[in-house]
Amino acid sequence: MAPDRPAKLLRIHISERDRYQGKPLYEALVDLCRELKISGATVFRGLEGFGETAGLHRPQLVGSDQPVVVTIVDSAENVARMALAAEGMMGTGMMAISEVRARRVEKQAG
């Protein structure tokens, strides 16, 4: 059994419509995670929500503007590097970091 190790969980809250250099910001953020060798990233789409601009993010007929959350779990240093780099790419948005304990499970299939 792998022991739990202390780690950080970073959530980046943005809009699905946010873009960075021509592609969706969430895709750019996941690419950045790869570049920074972050162990994993997951993007979730919310149903609706509102943030800093107080504009309601909700599905629209043209151009979806639903809230999107990019979630990563990694060591404190990696999360700090990622948060710093992500900040430069974001317009409006929110980042939250929380303390977690992580256990990586990797077994041979079968």
Partner: protein, 220 residues
Amino acid sequence: MTPLHDDIMTFLMHKGVAGATATRGYSGFGAHQALHTPKIEVAAEHLPIRIEFVDTAEKVDEVLPTLYELVTDGLIEVQDTTVVKVAREDAAGEPTAAHERVAGPAKLLRVFLGEADQWHGEPLYDAIVKKLRMMEIAGATVYRGILGYGAKGHEHKRSFWHPMRDLPVMISVVDTADKIEEATEAIEAMLTDGLIVTSDVEMVRMVRGMEKADGTGPAR
């Protein structure tokens, strides 16, 4: 003179056994090699009867000597069994009695896995949720991501050619620390590739037993 099975049932009830069921067989034969069947109308009371109950080993030991005395002709069998679930309707009472409220420190468990991960022919996330329900975990929610990658570096992405290929899935569970510890062990045994993350949270309110009120309460 009451039938023996009535006496046994009454005895078990008085002893406070959790529950007992008497079933009548359709036909059978025992030590006398006499066939008990309902074909002869008069002989209907000779049909084989089986009384079954499940309780703790101590309770069974307690009632066994009396049963041994009562049953002069028949078979008594004791079997080890694992009780998987005891479900009972909440006794009617004050409405508040149906709700169990818990507030205080708790743990939030997040499990990251792939949508395509399988467990004995069913989706792993489904199997995990079922397992958690069986363990009476307060609740679990499955989220499907729209993009992501794991430690293996393979991308989870919906593409035109493979619309349902392997999107990332996250299961989040909140319960008390010891329940989460149990859940973590169970999930780790089922997971082949994934990440289990726990964090401290403050449970503000947990209400159990809402099903009776509106029929759409939280899954147990």
